[in-house]
């Protein structure tokens, strides 16, 4: 004799519930929140430092949560921008989850913050499954990576409305094919906004900041689940 129980339940419901709670908190506080995801070595931290510095120059209050498997090296780099910064050491975990964000926001007055950027652990696959309550997911791709990466890792690029090309100052040296890279992004996300940046030259950094501020703090984010 067997008995069948119809559970019919999302596996990440607990994370999704926590993320929904965070999203409501961000909305009440009027803070814009972005979740940056890329491979290790794409240049997230250098670009984030440049963008946080640009935000400070505009008189904005910015904050960053930065995830890594070990060390607080990135947090120390980012703190030079004058932004509020906290490191999340994941102890070898390959992605951030909503409860980690929740714990690391303790003591921060979100209403005093204009822009919060969460720099996820360098990984193109794992972070995509976990909603952190962000208003905008941002995928980053450097010109030193293959132009076809969006097609190889469609989950991330499909779920990111903003795609940032980094290290554009190296484009000529690496013979980066702009048309091929844009076509690969469009193939998995036809309506994605694409911005090219260089942390070294500063190109595109102000545009990137504008794109982060353009997202209304109250913007709902599409659910992880297909509807």
């Amino acid at each position: 004799m067997t008995r069948v129980v119809e559970l019919q339940r999302g596996l990440l419901e607990k994370n999704d519930d926590l993320a929904s709670g965070l999203r409501a908190r961000y909305q009440r506080a009027g803070v814009r929140v972005a979740n940056w995801v890329s491979a290790p070595g794409t240049g997230k931290t250098a670009l984030l430092e440049a963008m946080l510095t640009a935000a400070a120059a505009r008189g904005l209050s910015a904050a960053a949560l930065v995830g890594d498997c070990a060390t607080d090296n990135d947090a120390r780099r980012l703190a030079r921008s004058g932004a509020l910064v906290r490191q999340i050491v994941t102890e070898s975990m390959c992605h951030l989850e909503a409860d980690m964000i929740d714990r690391h926001l303790t003591g921060w007055d979100l209403a005093e913050i204009d822009l919060l950027v969460i720099e996820n652990v360098g990984n193109l696959v794992c972070p995509t499954a976990f909603d952190l309550g962000e208003g905008q997911r941002v995928a980053l791709l450097s010109v030193t990576e293959g132009e076809d990466k969006p097609v190889k890792y469609p989950q991330l690029f499909h779920s990111s409305d903003l795609v940032v090309i980094t290290k554009s100052d190296l484009a000529a040296a690496t013979e980066w094919d702009r048309a091929a890279a844009h076509a690969a992004i469009r193939a998995v996300h036809p309506s994605a906004v694409i911005v090219e940046t260089s942390a070294r030259s500063g190109a595109g950094v102000e545009d990137l900041l504008d794109l982060h501020l353009a997202v209304p703090a109250t913007q709902p984010v599409p659910s992880q689940e297909a509807t």
Binding site: T2, L7, L11, L12, C126, A129, K152
Partner: protein, 125 residues
Amino acid sequence: MHELSIARALVQTVTDGVAERGGRPDQVTEIQLRIGVLSGVVPDALTFCFDIVADRTPLAGAALRIEMVPARGHCPACLRPVTLARSMLICPNCGGPVPELIAGRELEVGQVVLADVGPAAEVPA
């Protein structure tokens, strides 16, 4: 390897869900899962992690039955739902972009099968 986190969530979801419905988690023999091809979860890795995580829990020994859900979207040009090749959000009929997914990102528990041996305490010795 986020399948380890997902496996932990799976054990929690099934243990809680079965108990809430008056079932005993230690009687679970089979768990049906629906995994979308665009969910980013590798079925073999999830099965591997589940066996490790479920060991020493009431769900130890339960089998996963995984159904992969193909990516489907609505083609705005063809005006109908289409099944997509694994990674491309491109309509297989007209080659145009398919901006909206209907299916393919699922990570869901469906049915859970319990070996019903009646109230365990009352089984005759």
